[in-house]
């Protein structure tokens, strides 16, 4: 298995000069290609902060984060933006599609930022919309799409750049049950068929049930890290990873 993320001794404190909040405390994390991992824990446990650190959206105060062997904590802000563009996909809780662009344009934007050729963009975008089952909604603006449809477009956008892994922050939090199941089906399929690595922060039991690895955070520290067989696959029981 190829290592995708290798985080060592990562800590992050907010408001260090006033009322310090230790959001992530000395976290060690190792993720390999093709993992389908849920990051769980109560509110304020540091899930989103850890995802932001792993995605290069925030810098840790301490520790190193190696993505494919490259320490992203050492990159300049501009280099980090470029690194995110080419290596990391993001899915946000509130979809965060660009409201003035159509679904297709939202997905195309990432590939245009990568300076891909038009033919390549057209082919990839069409394939992604087929994967998410929304070929007929490609030219629709986000406001005309349901929450579930918007989140599916967000997944397509996250995958457009062919990233090393996708970070999804509470992707099903704003979705109804049917939309959430549908979205998880799509992501599980992409994970299994294309070996794309997914890491979710979530409270959602439906997501946790589908994950093959569950990392529990409490007070910014990894409380447990469990490998498991998802409920949609033959159940073989759970075993602790460390």
């Amino acid at each position: 298995m190829k290592t995708v993320i290798d985080a060592h001794n990562v800590s992050k404190t907010f408001n260090p000069d006033t009322i310090p909040i230790l959001a992530v405390n000395n976290v060690h994390l190792h993720l390999e290609r093709g993992e389908f991992t849920a990051l769980v824990g109560p509110s304020g446990s540091g899930k989103t902060t850890l995802l932001n650190l792993l995605g290069g959206l925030d810098k840790p105060d301490k520790g190193s984060i190696l993505i494919n062997g490259k320490d992203i904590t050492q990159l300049s802000p501009n280099a980090l933006i470029d690194f995110r563009l080419h290596h990391i996909g993001f899915v946000f809780q509130s979809f965060n599609l660009i409201p003035v662009l159509t679904a297709r344009e939202n997905v195309e934007l990432i590939m245009q930022l990568q300076h891909k050729k038009k033919e390549e963009i057209d082919e990839r975008v069409l394939n992604l919309f087929r994967e998410i089952g929304m070929e007929d909604k490609m030219d629709t603006r986000p406001a005309q799409l349901s929450g579930g449809q918007q989140q599916r477009v967000a997944v397509a956008r996250a995958l457009a750049s062919k990233p090393q892994f996708v970070l999804a922050d509470e992707p099903t939090a704003n979705l109804d049950s049917k939309s959430a199941t549908n979205l998880l089906d799509i992501m599980a399929k992409l994970n299994q068929e294309e070996n794309i690595t997914f890491i979710f922060s979530t409270h959602d039991a439906r997501v946790i049930e589908r994950a093959r690895r569950v990392i529990t955070l409490v007070d910014g520290q990894i409380h447990s890290d469990t490998a498991r067989v998802p409920t949609d696959l033959p159940h073989e029981g759970e075993k602790p990873r460390n």
Partner: protein
């Protein structure tokens, strides 16, 4: 994609964008209209200076203008023959000048006495059009005099009144002559009117003791553009004389044109500063409202240069859409008022007249300064975009996404 996104972002808040676009249009309209007014005023002033006061060119003895000593004359026959051969010259007029004192029973006033040949002068200074009361000078009546309305009021004179002019002749002897007012003239330049009286040239020549010579030849050209060409040609032909253009003879007009241009720049500057604050306010609101979205774009991999360009493009669109509207409005309004004129006599006739301006203003479209105005609008848009764009690129993606 950036341009498409910028264009659509501008129209996300239609009311706000339309207000700022209309502000730009009104600002540009106001700026161009004020420039058009000044342009019209200046053009009219220059026209008046050339056509009714100092002509395009004046030829004098080089010593004459130092203290107006009447003995410094020019050979009018020699000059006339040569000036007639120059095709760029439309008309010219010989004048005899004297500095003197006008006296009546009610008082005295210092005047410049200009001896003219009426028919020549009609072509050069349109003296016939200036007379508002009485008649023009009659060459057959030696003691006729034209005085201005301003002077007539000051000296309590009317058509038919008698007055005495006192001045020194070429022998430096003080001499006097009695004159009778044949007509009262009026121009838009009251300070000049108050100082100038016209008499028949032959009469003044006799009184001064001059023969076949004059003090000044005023020249009107067919085209303003030939000014330097003709000046240099005549000066080269007659190096013994001084040939001066209207700019040299009326430096105050040249100064006024320069001053008005500076005022125009200040007014445009004030309008643009007001506009800039409007644009900055609008774009800052737009950036603040989209903090999360901009943070998300950075998170996805849109670099700071592209974010900066996006906000810059939105600002430019916001500004430049108003430009053609302002341009068209000012074009049509200036075109309309250039024909009908704007009458400001009801509130500033006297003030305008004291500076040599008429009370009807015919604005002219400021073609000469158009490029500069558009450049200023463009630069204003660019400068206005800098702060909101800077705010946008300073956003940290994690912080922006938390909002």
């Amino acid at each position: 994609m950036n341009l498409k996104m910028a264009w659509r972002n501008v129209w996300r808040n239609k009311t706000r964008s339309l207000i700022i676009m209309i502000s730009v249009a009104i600002g540009l309209f106001a700026g161009l209209f004020v420039l058009g007014l000044y342009e019209g005023m200046m053009s009219e002033r220059v026209r008046t200076v050339i056509d009714t006061e100092v002509a395009h060119l004046q030829v004098h003895h080089p010593e004459f203008k130092k203290d107006y000593d009447p003995k410094f004359t020019i050979d009018e026959n020699l000059l006339e023959n040569e000036l007639k051969k120059i095709p760029e010259i439309k008309a010219f007029s010989n004048r005899v000048l004297a500095q003197g004192m006008l006296a009546t029973t009610t008082g005295t006033s210092g005047v410049q006495i200009i001896g003219i040949d009426l028919e020549d002068e009609k072509e050069v200074s349109r003296v016939d059009l200036k007379v508002k009361e009485g008649e023009l000078l009659d060459p057959g009546k030696k003691n006729g005099i034209l005085i201005s309305k301003k002077l007539a009021g000051k000296m309590k004179l009317k058509v038919g009144s008698k007055l005495v002019l006192t001045f020194t002749d070429i022998e430096n002897t003080v001499t006097s002559g009695a004159f009778r007012v044949t007509g009262i003239y009026q121009t838009i330049n009251t300070p000049l009117d108050e100082r100038i009286v016209y008499v028949n040239r032959a009469t003044l020549m006799d009184d001064l003791g001059l023969r076949e010579s004059s003090h000044e030849i005023a020249v009107i050209l067919n085209k303003d553009e030939d000014l330097d060409l003709v000046k240099n040609g005549v000066q080269a032909q007659f190096p013994q004389y001084s040939v001066l253009t209207w700019k040299e003879n009326s430096p105050e007009t040249e100064l006024l044109v320069g001053t008005i241009n500076q005022y125009s720049s200040i007014i445009i500057g004030i309008i643009m500063i007001a506009l800039a604050f409007g644009i900055i306010n609008t774009m800052l609101m737009s950036v603040i409202e989209r903090t999360r979205e901009i943070g998300m774009l950075t998170a996805l991999g849109m670099n700071r240069k592209k974010i900066f360009l996006l906000i810059l493009t939105e600002t430019l669109i916001l500004t430049l859409v108003g430009v053609p509207i302002g341009f068209i409005c000012s074009w049509f309004s200036i075109l309309y008022f250039s024909k009908t004129g704007i009458d400001i006599s009801s509130f500033s006739e006297e003030a305008m007249s004291s500076f040599g301006f008429g009370s009807m203003i015919y604005p002219e479209f400021p073609f000469a300064t158009m490029d500069s105005v558009l450049l200023i609008v463009f630069i204003t848009a660019l400068i206005s975009a800098l702060f909101p764009s800077w705010k946008a690129i300073k956003l940290q993606p994690a912080d922006a996404l938390r909002q």
